[in-house]
């Protein structure tokens, strides 16, 4: 549906793609943020490369369509330059958990003030169906015709261990629940991470599985250990906010309330500082 949050770009996601649900949830969350005093102009989005990244072209929000795996690093640079912006980035599971895993670990470690939304479909869709770091062992794709021989990562456990201060999982098939998670994540001051279960109708159709197994958890667990136990448990697939805590975000720890872009030193002041250093 064309609306004020959708651009003129032709949408080329496959019919039935989980990205549609996710896209609608993002737009709903942005409207919720509007009610909380966060204008669309304060938002800055990034995206990696993959089917997920097309959201950059469709969503009418300013931002940067970055490189595969690097959008989390780029987003941190935006936040450092102007901490008054709400910076969020869309990643794919190959993008975030493969190519760009180190940026994600370090963003969590330093509590960077960005929100990372991972479109987790368990497959490289845009490059036609290879296994990703979270594909099940035995997954058959063009690069693993006899079945993937690696065990999958548990990215939620990894993020909890790395020190992420907001960890959640949603399902594109439950768009209202997902929208609430997105809005909460974007209002979180530190590093917020949302893994989104998102079926790929062409290469990894998980709608049936998720509709049967997904289970909304009530409040977040009391401790990080309980959260870890929850994301590691078998059986039903929990969705919801698993962990949330307040911790000073990186930009404030590094430079207090300074905003490099908004508080630029005028030339005269800068030159006189340089002169002082030159003259020792």
């Amino acid at each position: 549906m064309p609306d004020e949050l959708t651009t003129y770009c032709e949408n080329t996601w496959c019919p039935g793609c989980g990205n549609f649900g996710l896209f609608n949830s993002v737009k709903k969350a942005i409207k919720q943020l509007g009610g909380k005093g966060v204008a669309r102009s304060d938002l800055f989005m990034c995206a990696g490369i993959g089917c997920h990244g097309k959201i950059f072209d469709y969503l009418a929000v300013s931002g940067f369509y970055a490189l595969h795996g690097r959008s989390m690093a780029l987003a941190q640079g935006v936040k450092l330059a102007n901490p008054s912006l709400k910076v969020f980035t869309f990643c794919g599971d190959g993008d975030a958990y493969g190519e760009g895993l180190e940026h994600m670990l370090f963003a969590a470690k330093r509590n960077a003030g960005i929100t990372v939304i991972v479109h987790n479909n368990g497959v490289y869709g845009l490059t036609v169906g290879q296994f990703t770091p979270v594909s099940k062992r035995g997954f058959k794709g063009p690069s693993s015709p006899r079945g993937n021989v690696e065990e999958p990562l548990n990215p939620l456990a990894l993020m909890l261990e790395a020190g992420a201060t907001f960890v959640a999982r949603g399902y594109s098939g439950k768009p209202d629940h997902l929208a609430d998670i997105f809005a909460r994540a974007m209002m979180h001051e530190g590093f917020a991470y949302v893994d989104v279960l998102q079926p790929c109708v062409s290469f990894n159709d998980t709608y049936k599985l998720y509709n049967e197994k997904v289970e909304i958890v009530s409040g977040p667990p009391k401790t990080r250990e309980e959260a870890l136990a929850l994301v590691k448990r078998g059986g039903k697939i929990p969705i919801g906010v698993f962990w949330e805590e307040k911790r000073e975000p990186y930009h404030r720890a590094l430079m207090g309330e300074r905003n490099p872009v908004l508080n630029r030193q005028p030339r005269g002041e800068r030159i006189s500082k340089v002169k002082q250093l030159l003259e020792g």
Binding site: T7, Y8, C9, A39, S41, D42, F44, C46, I49, K54, F56, D57, A60, V61, S62, G63, F64, Y65, A66, L67, R70, A73, L74, A75, Q76, G77, V78, K79, L80, A81, N82, S84, L85, E102, H103, L105, F106, L254, M255, R258, P260, V261, N263, R264, Q265, R267, R270, I271, K273, V274, K275, L277, L278, E279, G280
Partner: protein, 551 residues
Amino acid sequence: MAKDVFTFMVGGKAGEGVKKAGNAAANLFASRGFSVFQYDDYQSLIRGGHNFSVVSASARPLSSHYMHADLVVNIDARSYELHRSHVADGGILVRNSDLVKDGDGVGIPMTSLAKECEHPALITGVGSFVMLCAALGMNWADTAKVVESEYRRELQDNIAYAEAIHELAWPSFGGKFKLENGGKVRPMLYGNEAIALGAAAGGLDIYVAYPMTPASSILHYLASHSEDLGIAVMHPENEIAVANMAIGAASAGARTMVGSSGGGFALMEEAISLAGMTETPLLLVLSSRPGPSTGVPTYSAQGDLNFALGQGHGDFPKIVASPSSASEAFRLTAEMLDLAWKFQVPAILLTEKHLAESRMSVDIDTDKTAWAEGMSHGKGEYKRYLDTPEGISPLMFPPSAELIKWNSYEHDEKGITSDAPETIVRMHDKRARKASSLENHLKGLNTVNVFGTGKRSIFAYGSTVMSVIEAVKSGGLDAKIVQPIYLDPLPLEELSKHAADAAIVVEQSSTGQFARLLRERAGIKVSKVIAKYDGRPFEPAELAAQLKGAL
């Protein structure tokens, strides 16, 4: 100082205060109004090994150290073996008589005199500095004053040790040289400090880097002055993060610089193409050391010229330029930051360990420094990639009601992804026009330095120019030195003025990368390439002899 150039050399193990002694000596000369060049030779280790520092000073402008010294102090036996031949005619050789019992020169028991001190190894450097003071005829009272200002930590030990050294040294060579006053007192900067301060003077907001020698001291300097300069400094997980963060920061409006050496810079290359496609202004420092690969971390080379010129996949405009002194590094860094912003391109400041980590007298006019400004969008609908006659699309930064879309994919004017053939061509042509605008703009800037008025041309770039200038001066050679400051776009018109006769090329590359560039791109006839690729900078006297042969 009746001599044209006075040189002090001190050698010892890492951890014996060798570099500090060089620093103190350089400060002493600088404070008397001399032009000073300090070269620190060190290995990639923290303790032991062999380090030495050479400080040359002159009443005339000086652009290199000399390896023949008027005073050579050897703190350990290895230094004595390596540097006993570096004493100039009429110079003084000092050995540590605790470690080299019998030998040439003056023996001073530097180790046993230090035994009483808390840090006996570290303090030996103080001793070598005191010997310089004695050789220059400074009495104990004056010497004590400079020791006090240079060596503030554990001052009591330092003073006691210094006095003991002074008393032993004075009878042997006290006042052998006379230190007169030079001219105007000028500050001294390491090349990396000049780059950091030049960037600051040019309006830098953010510096992002991962440590790698010889670029690291830019990071250290800016981190230590982050608060007073109002520059945010970040050291993230790796160079890939560095480059991408910097691009993100620039897209939010921050003047941003990054720095690394070969290997780390290689990790940034994908992001350089990203800056090319997204038209993000970004200044990158490539500080070279001998490669390939890990190579020789603490030494100098010019083997990264082709690497700098060939950065990035795909066709897009960029800037590569290389300074030939700390003063020029200051000016050029600010200028390149401005150019990166004016033309929304990645700009690479190429330098080498020999400039980055050598310390020299500077003449800097901060008021004439460029200040980075890009073209801003006025009113109305915003198109990030507006197709203009100059190829430059106005900039706009968040927060804004207008949509600002930076895109790594090929894109339309609004920044929405496109694979339409006419859009691909249109955007390539727009970026190409930007390259032409840049070339035109450079015609109004100083893109080539010419030193001297001799007939034959010697071509050099970067830190090598410093050695060549000094070689031509000290050798009394009839030659002019031509230095392209800008290497991409190469100032062909300016260079063509020096293309008439066969030229000599001096560079620190084993395959002659610079000579090939001059031949293939600028049509320069190269009769001889003097190449040095042992990691050490050219020594002026040695180079003068080579140039004499070639001329």
